[in-house]
């Protein structure tokens, strides 16, 4: 049940990623995966590798999904932004004649 709660929170927060410029690696789908994986991983880590069962969840369990989801999406955003920067750098080099093509 804990996993379902974390993932639900992760997906809920992913919906707000549309307010951020789309620089996520893999776009909106990459952000989705980042939110889901981030919330689940963070929840598992913070809970000491023990997923709360049916009767062991509370509001705190749900809130535990928030930082994980944010971190997950931030990581995917950073990866995407870095790729865009690299691409830009390549274009600039190409324009300056340092690279072929």
């Amino acid at each position: 049940m804990g996993m379902l709660v974390w993932v639900t929170m992760g997906i809920a927060l992913w919906h707000f990623s549309v307010f951020v410029p789309d620089r996520f690696a893999g776009g909106i789908v990459g952000a989705f995966l980042g939110a889901v994986v981030g919330s689940a991983l963070f929840g598992v880590l913070v809970s000491g590798f023990d997923v709360p069962g049916r009767d062991a969840t509370d509001i705190g369990t749900a809130l535990l999904g928030v930082p994980g989801s944010a971190i997950g999406m931030a990581v995917v955003y950073w990866m995407g932004a870095r790729a865009v920067d690299e691409e830009l750098e390549q274009d600039l080099k190409r324009l300056a004649g340092e690279l072929p093509g």
Binding site: M1, V5, T8, M9, F16, V29, A62, G65
Partner: protein, 974 residues
């Protein structure tokens, strides 16, 4: 065949089928499930024995044996069927005593014959044939026994003796309490099975911990030693006079139940007979030989111990008949009459201590044979005939209500087309009902839910086509051409959507529990039949009527020109729709975490009794008092509103009770408060709950895989991802709402969720299908512009299909009973969420993802350059270029029809112009005369191959500007 003839043929065929269906409906009975007519349902799980694994053959053999046993119960129309790999469902209509039914049907009847004195072990773990304190002497099987704790303690000390005829086939485990000197549970084949223990009230309950507590330990009795319960006095079946009497035996049986034949209940009426009931039987050839040898050995041992002058009975030795670990009889062998053992050619008998009923029961068990596998009762439910009838009435009202409401909607919205759709719906209802009777499908409450839902699905198909027909007529086509084009273009989306529903229904049917199977079967069949009536029949009717005056007016078809076309910026507004979904899901996540999901007994295990009390003054306190007297003071009691049964209906939920205990509880409630008719009872064991949960998870995963594969196949893989995201959105919203409203999640809810997976796609496929159609039509527009236009074009039909499905579901929610309302609630939330997510989640995710592709990015950049850094919501300026793909396809078809095959003047040979035309006809794309695609600026716009979708019939031509020139005469490089 001309269209007119084809339509006439279809109409005649449909009419013929209607007549045949009417005859079937009139002549055949509807097969009702237990939930609609009352009865007992038992679910068993098979576990292996030493003599048989749980395989197809063993389970099928068990079903055969159980069927024979059920026949002896005299039950009309019993059903015994296999579910999954190792479960058997026994449905016994009109049976009222679940306890007796389960004892008669599911007793494993592992029957063995033991040479008694040779195998009973004393305290030194050695046989002591002449020690009556060990064997019981003349009272063999009844005297000289030990308390169970002592017997287990003795047995555990003996080493393994696997090289003999052991009944157990391996070690047996017991959980004992050394302080109270009691055996808490066992024998079990696995240590983990020991934690369903007998409580202080004598009932078994599953403990949450799986380790022995203080003063407890697990004891292993090795193979070769067996602890048998001694013979119980009469009346012990109801556990009122049980004796704690056990023996430790060397487990080396002489014969098995399979070695005997033709057992019958008889009376001991021969010379010197007592006239008491007995059981007579014969042996198989092998059994006869072993029987004679065994009884000879027993007789010889008796003869050797006989002291002349004493009573022969004092020296007589015994054999024991052991059924399911209990000595049921231990007759002696008269060594004077049978010094060479008993010649079994004339059969043998078991006598002494039988009542007619117990002798009949043993004879029945022996006749039908031992079940090849052990069976554990994991679920048991009993439905009263009154409540079943009530559920049927509610289901019928909900069905009729759903039908009427869909009819009204179709007539109000589609006028003449609506009349045709209603006619098709009537035909669908007649066909489907006839099919249910003909197959026959056992109609259950979930099945009725499926039936009502398919009414919506059948109407959906009409809506999709009619909206398309209207669109074509509005675009300027004639009625005839509009109808033809509407069916041609609408059919793809309908087939795609229905195939997905059928696939999900199939998965549900394969994996679900019995009740839900009925739902899945009805849903799958209904969808197939609806394809026939909603597409073929309506097309034939419309085709026949297309020249009539009635259909010539566009307003009669609801296709009058629209004052304003719908132009919504779905892409631009998606931020707000996403935010709304995000907020709903945050609330859902908090509810899931804080309140959790209330899983019903289907998943959690337990017993539920629903009873209407005749005592008008009975309140919750009175019910609790009766429960407390049965040791069930902590039960959950809930008043249930039921107009038909009255005000005093209560639902009692407790931990899982055995059938005996359920009977005791019902008896106590009846005596104190008076039960109206028969109560509904349902007992679910933890194993059943686990298997239900496991099947549900597998079904959800399998459905998602199948859906993804299908979407990838029909569209492209990038279209499958938004679908999965939208589906997870729908499932989580339904889960969150269940948590928020404290509604119980049952197997019906899971079935509804799975159906939702299929249904939610209906709208998504309609949207995606239109995007797919518009991509080649708008070669210069941005993806968001194409998607905006596509979604605006189909938003009305999306909403209408949802309304047409939602309305019958609403009827279920309003008029259906408890089970139907379970389905309806989940379906209604799902249908609303599914429609919303198709348009506002799946669409925008697809837009955002596709626009990252290089081709679409280039187009977007070009449009942004043209419009000062922004992309209009709808294609404008140079992006507004449209290709009439229909006209292009038609021109292509005509060109191919006029294909040049011979020169105009054969005597002059083939001219250059004729040669070029022939090359064009052959579609050689590298030919210099091949049709060129309009040129695009490669730096600013997408190339056709960038936006090419695998579904398109022909791959667009590549840019050939950099290609080497080819020889125009041969099409080869120079």
């Amino acid at each position: 065949m001309s269209d007119k003839r084809r339509n006439l043929f279809i109409l005649l065929f449909v009419a013929g089928l209607v007549i045949a269906s009417a005859v079937t409906i009139a002549s055949k009975d509807t097969k009702l499930g237990l939930d609609l007519k009352g009865g007992v349902e038992l679910v068993y799980q098979a576990t292996p024995t030493k003599f048989s694994d749980v395989n197809d053959e063993a389970v099928d053999r068990s079903i055969e044996i159980m069927r024979e046993r059920v026949d002896q119960l005299g039950v009309a129309e019993p059903e015994i069927q296999r579910t999954g790999a190792d479960q058997i469902i026994v449905s016994l209509p009109d049976v009222r005593n679940a306890d007796e039914a389960q004892r008669q049907v599911g007793t494993t009847a592992q029957l063995f014959f033991y040479d008694w004195e040779k195998n009973v072990l004393g305290s030194d773990l050695e046989p002591a044939p002449d020690d009556a304190s060990v064997t019981g002497g003349q009272a063999a099987g009844q005297a000289g026994c030990l308390p169970q704790y002592d017997a287990v303690a003795r047995a555990r000390r003996r080493a393994a003796m696997p090289d003999q005829n052991t009944a157990t086939g391996g070690p047996r485990y017991y959980l004992v309490n050394d302080k109270s000197r009691t055996v808490l549970s066992g024998p079990a084949t696995e240590r983990g099975d020991l934690f369903t223990v007998r409580g202080p009230d004598g009932e078994f309950e599953r403990r949450e911990d799986t380790e022995p507590r203080a003063d407890e330990r697990i004891v292993e009795v090795k193979e070769g030693t067996i602890v048998l319960r001694g013979e119980q006095p009469d009346g012990s079946e109801d556990n009122t006079t049980e004796r704690d009497c056990y023996y430790v035996l060397n487990d080396d049986f002489a014969l098995r139940g399979t070695d005997i034949e033709n057992p019958e209940q008889n009376f001991d009426s021969g010379p010197g007979g007592t006239g008491q009931p007995n059981v007579t039987f014969e042996f198989s050839d092998e059994g006869r030989r072993i029987w004679q040898e065994t009884t000879r050995e027993i007789a010889e041992r008796g003869q050797a111990q006989f002291i002349p002058g004493s009573s022969p009975l004092a020296a007589a030795q015994h054999f024991a008949i052991v059924l399911d670990g209990e000595v049921i009889s231990a007759p002696f062998i008269d060594f004077n009459r049978n010094p060479d053992g008993i010649d079994a050619r004339t059969g043998s008998e078991i006598s002494g201590g039988f009542t007619i009923k117990s002798a009949q029961r043993l004879a029945n068990l022996l006749r039908t044979g031992a079940l090849p596998v052990e069976l554990e009762l994991i679920s048991q439910s009993q439905v009263s005939a009154t409540l079943g009838q009530q559920a049927l009435d509610e289901g019928v009202i909900a069905g009729i209500g759903g039908f009427v409401i869909v009819v009204l909607f179709l007539l109000a919205f589609y006028r003449i087309l609506g009349v045709i759709a209603v006619a098709a719906l009537f035909v669908y209802a007649i066909y489907f009902f006839a099919l249910i009777k003909l197959i026959p499908v056992t109609l259950t409450l979930p099945g009725i839910a499926g039936l009502v839902l398919t009414l919506g699905v059948a109407a959906d198909a009409n809506i999709v086509i009619f909206e398309r027909v209207k669109e074509e007529i509005r675009a300027g086509r004639s009625t005839i051409a509009g109808i033809a084009a509407g069916y041609k273009k609408g059919i793809t989306a309908i087939i795609d959507a229905n195939v997905v529903v059928i696939m999900v229904a199939f998965i549900l049917f394969t994996l679900a529990t019995a009740g839900v199977k009925g739902f899945a079967l009805v849903l799958g069949l209904g969808t197939l039949v609806s394809l026939f009536t909603a597409v073929l029949l309506t097309q034939a009717i419309l085709g026949t009527m297309s020249r009539s005056k009635m259909l010539q007016s566009p307003s009669a078809l609801g296709a009058a020109p629209q004052k304003r076309s719908i132009r919504i910026d779905f892409s631009g507004l998606s931020k707000w729709f996403f935010s709304a979904s995000g907020v709903i899901l945050i609330i859902g996540a908090l509810a899931l975490g804080g309140k959790g999901i209330d899983f019903g007994i289907d998943f959690e295990s337990g017993t539920r009794v629903t009873a209407a009390f005749t005592s008008q003054q009975a309140d919750e306190g009175d019910v609790r008092e009766v429960l407390a007297s049965q040791g069930l003071g902590s039960a959950k009691i809930q008043g249930v509103t039921d107009e038909e049964l009255g005000e005093n209906v209560f639902q009692i939920s407790v931990e899982q009770l055995s059938p005996v205990k359920v009977n005791d509880l019902n008896r106590a409630l009846d005596e104190r408060l008076g039960i109206e008719g028969e109560p509904n009872t349902q007992s679910i064991g933890p194993t059943f709950g686990e298997s239900v949960a496991e099947s549900a998870i597998i079904a959800i995963i399998a459905s998602l895989i199948v859906i993804s594969a299908y979407i990838t196949l029909r569209f492209e893989w990038k279209y499958a991802v938004p679908v999965l995201i939208a589906l997870s959105h729908d499932i989580l919203i339904v889960s969150g709402i269940y948590a928020l409203t404290d509604r119980e999640v049952t197997t019906a809810t899971v079935a509804a969720l799975l159906t939702l997976l299929g249904y939610s796609l209906y709208d998504t496929i309609i949207v995606f299908d239109r995007i797919r159609e518009n991509v080649p039509r708008m070669p210069k527009a941005a993806f968001s512009q194409i998607a905006n236009r596509s979604m605006s074009e189909v938003v009305v039909r999306s909403i209408n299909t949802s309304v047409s499905t939602g309305l019958p579901v609403l009827a279920l929610l309003l008029f259906g009973g408890e089970t139907l309302q379970d389905f309806a609630f989940a379906l209604l939330v799902g249908v609303i969420s599914g429609t919303y997510s198709s348009i506002f989640i799946a669409g925008p995710v697809l837009i955002a993802w596709k626009e990252r592709e290089p081709g679409w990015r280039r187009r977007r950049a070009r449009i942004m350059g043209e419009f000062g850094g922004m992309v209009p919501a709808y294609a404008d300026g140079s992006a507004a270029v449209e290709v009439d793909t229909d006209a292009k396809r038609e021109a292509e078809r005509r060109r191919k029809a006029r294909r040049l095959t011979t020169p105009e003047d054969p005597s002059q040979g083939v001219s250059q112009a004729e040669f070029d035309e022939m090359v064009r006809d052959l579609d050689i794309e590298d030919s210099p005369v091949a049709t060129e695609e309009p040129g695009y600026d490669p730096k600013a716009d997408a190339q056709p191959e960038d936006v090419y979708m695998q579904d398109e019939k022909r791959k667009p031509k590549r840019d050939k500007s950099n290609r080497k020139k080819r020889n125009p005469r041969h099409g080869r490089p120079r």
